[in-house]
Amino acid sequence: MNFWTDPIKVLYDWLMSLFGGWGMAEPLANTLVTLLGIVVLITIALVLDIFLVWIERKVVARFQGRLGPNRVGPFGIFQPFPDIIKLVIKEDITPDGADKVVFNIAPVLSAGSVIILWAVLPIASRIYGVDLNVAALYIIAAGALGTLSVIMAGWSSNNKYALLGAFRQVAAMISFEIPMVAMLLVPTILVGSMSLNAITQAQVDGVWFFWLSPLGSLIFAISAIAELGRSPFDLNEGESEIVSGYHIEYSGMKFGWFYAGELLHAFTFGGFMAIFFFGGWHGPWAEEYPLLGAFYFVLKALFGYWVIMWVKYTVPRIRIDHMLAFNWKFLTPLSFALLIVTATVHVLMRDAAFWLYVAAMFTSNLLLGWLTVEILRSYTREKREAVPSAAHH
């Protein structure tokens, strides 16, 4: 065992011996080291967050045919720091009619709800916060806190645009939570555990779940985007309609927390996509060298993040009723159907040869997808055909 094969354990032992050397009692030392670990993890997340700002700005610029930040540092990589300084020194306004306590809690809760997600992220084979046996559900629970923060922000601002934005966001989050939970159940069913470590390990031992449930990963991605409130589902902000949504009244670093939270949230969901469907930290030699695994993980998460951005800057915003109808009338039934199909095929085929099992899973997904497309097609055809005849009469 050395630093390269198990860095956390090495660091832990070193710190314990260090604190022990200072004459500290062991429980106290343990608590201290744990707290230190939490702080380090949060710090890493937030530092990453800073660079995400840069990445986001660079990528959006490329999408829009611009250069993006390019003055501060090489490729403008230090651009976020001036941004932060600007946010910090800006005037912090709290509106008169606002419910002050709630107004101030909301941004903290918002950023906090994202950061607590990092507690369960298996970044590499032996690098993770905690191996929670209900981690998949924990993600949803954290999302629920996020929802709460939105509505708190919206309501406490005492601004109708803010409230409208909050309503929209909450409606979207609650609705899209359902297909998302259903899709989280797909890996859960396949593995038989909700622990993210177990899920990753199962993919390391078997195949990436993308091959078992391509349709599932697609549904998960869509509902994740909605959950994040990003375009095309960014109705909560809807600049042209409700100015900026629930954080309209926020300024300075309070706004900064919302902003940071959103970016980190998107990145984190890229990570979840990687964990649930693309093998997590899995890659060549990742098991032996956890830091390599962490590298893979960040790469995959960034890829997921990039996809989310790609969608965001490509697809126009849709109407709120369309969005909800899309969820309730299409995505939710589909995800339930997929869940049933997955469970059935899994039970029926799990004793068969592995390749047969994978093939059955993959084809059943494709079949379901095809069936869905066919039903949609005939449905739209009917709608289309109904229109001219109605115009006739």
Binding site: V347, L348, M349, D351, A352, I375, S378, Y379, E382
Partner: protein
């Protein structure tokens, strides 16, 4: 695959219901989707049955692939499934005919979704009767089968028909399909009342509904019951069973629901009605009456044979007297099923003897064969009815040149129905006659009259439809008949193939039946 292995029977049994529930969620305008889903999903039980057939061990005594689940523990009823050679052949028949009937139903345009769902429910109902190894479950499925059929006749039956209801109080005209469906329902329900009562008595008496246990205990039962001698109670219960099943077979004089129901039912409904539902009654005789009441059955074998002979002879006569093509075929079912009962009666008379075994072999094979040929005949009547919108034999004539392929298929199937050697009907009729002749010579001899008239009515049908001078009405213009199409041929092809195969080499089926009969009744 392990799940399917251990739950094969229940998978076969409930898959149609599952498919029906899936169809429930389809939009009702998606007719093609619904049809294909129904058809394809009905092929699944068939495939599983074929697989079951390959794994089935005909030598083994008792039931195989058994599944038991607690169901109604308070009254000691459990959900107990199992098969032996007898039920296996009937399950095969059911799962084979259902896809064909569904394929035949592609021409149904009205309320397709409900139709297909009912049909799939019907399949489960029928399969349940054959698979049930628990008397109460048996009864439940027995009744379940009625409901879809009632609606199929009532809603999709021939819309125009009228029926005169005559009684000494006067007569009136009513809608034929309403009349037929009601008659079918009420008749069967009435028969089941006695059955239910007898079933309840057994359940209360022995604290179980398990077939195997009941057979052992009930036939050995002795003493008094309800203040009566056990033997008398047994006689009463015997008739309660017998009448319930006789109604379903149906046996003369309980047969008058059959021509009405068959004639008014939609084509596929008639196929299933004749192909499978009638077998339920005969199956009841074999599965319940003979094992439960060997003594009583022997005592009343003569009466059963009498009724069977009446069914054979008068079924044939009445069939010959028809001008409605479908009613002609319907009465032919009375005639053919009479042979089944004749075989059963003969077997009842001397259970366990070689003659009885041969008679039973014949009876079971006749059930299977009649399922094939009657379904085929009803379908063919349906084919021409769909085109001509009439079933009146006098309105056809000389159609052979216009519809040559149809004509060929009709003649082939008719010949199977007629009992031509080389086709399936002959083998079973021969076995029945062979088995019952030494036991019931007079009845067998008299029933030959019915066999003779089988030929008469079959030839009458062919003569009136295909042969003779061409009725020009059907040759030109809007009434021009078109020949049977590919879909309809696909319905007939498996039936015809089986008819031929069973006629030439019946061993593969008969061997299973024979072993089952030996194990059951000796």
């Amino acid at each position: 695959m392990d799940f399917i292995n251990t739950h094969l029977l229940s998978t076969i049994l409930f898959f149609p219901v599952f498919a029906a529930l899936v169809i429930l969620f389809f939009p009702k305008e998606q007719v093609a989707l619904i049809r294909w889903t129904a058809l394809l999903s009905s092929l699944v039980p068939f495939g599983l049955t074929v697989w079951l057939w390959t794994m089935f061990d005909p030598q083994a005594a008792g039931f195989q692939f058994e599944e038991i689940y607690p169901w109604y523990e308070a009254i000691h009823s459990s959900f107990h499934l199992g098969i032996d050679g007898l039920s296996l052949s009937m399950v095969l028949l059911t799962t084979l005919l259902t896809p064909l009937a569904l394929l035949a139903s592609f021409s149904v345009q009205d309320k397709v979704k409900a139709y297909m769902m009912l049909f799939l429910f019907l399949e489960t109902g029928m399969l349940g009767v054959f698979l049930a190894m628990d008397l109460l479950i048996f009864f439940v499925f027995w009744e379940i089968g009625l409901v879809p059929m009632y609606f199929l006749i009532n809603q999709w039956g021939s819309p125009k028909g009228e029926r005169e209801v005559w009684s000494p109080f006067g007569s009136y005209i009513t809608s034929a399909r309403n009349y037929a469906s009601l008659k079918f329902m009420v008749y069967t329900m009435a028969g089941s009342l006695g059955l239910l009562l007898a079933v309840q008595m057994l359940g209360v008496l022995f604290q179980t509904y398990d077939l195997a246990t009941l057979v052992a205990q009930w036939s050995a039962f002795d003493g008094t019951l309800f203040g009566m001698d056990a033997s008398r109670v047994k006689v009463i219960a015997f008739w309660a069973f017998t009448i319930a099943f006789a109604l379903k077979v149906p046996v003369w004089p309980f047969h008058t629901w059959l021509p009405d129901a068959h004639t008014e039912a939609p084509t596929a409904g008639s196929m299933i009605l004749a192909g499978v539902l009638l077998k339920l009654g005969a199956y009841g005789f074999l599965r319940l009456v003979l094992p439960f009441y060997p003594v009583e059955a022997q005592q009343y074998a003569g009466w059963m044979a009498f009724l069977a002979t009446m069914a054979i002879v008068f079924g044939a006569f009445a069939s010959f007297g028809q001008t409605d093509f479908k009613r002609l075929v319907a009465y032919s079912s009375v005639n053919h099923m009479g042979f089944v009962l004749l075989g059963i009666a003969a077997a009842a008379k001397a259970i366990g003897t070689p003659d009885a075994t041969i008679a039973l072999n014949g009876a079971v094979l006749q059930m299977f064969n009649h399922g094939l040929s009657a379904a085929g005949m009803f379908f063919l009547v349906g084919v021409i009815y769909e085109r001509a919108h009439t079933r009146d034999l006098d309105k056809f004539g000389g159609l052979f040149p216009i519809i040559p392929v149809y004509g060929g298929i009709l003649i082939f199937t008719s010949m199977a129905s007629l009992g031509l050697p080389g086709l399936n009907g002959f083998v079973s009729e021969f076995l029945v006659v062979r088995g019952s002749f030494p036991l019931l010579p007079v009845f067998t001899a008299v029933s030959m009259l019915g066999l003779l008239f089988t030929g008469a009515y079959i030839l009458k049908g062919i003569r009136k439809v295909l042969h003779g001078p061409l009725n020009e009405h059907w040759a030109h213009g809007e009434h021009k008949l078109t020949d049977i199409n590919l879909r309809e041929i696909l319905v007939m092809a498996p039936l015809m193939a089986l008819i031929l195969i069973l006629g030439i080499y019946p061993m593969w089926l008969l061997d299973v039946i024979n072993k089952a009969m030996l194990l059951l009744f000796s």
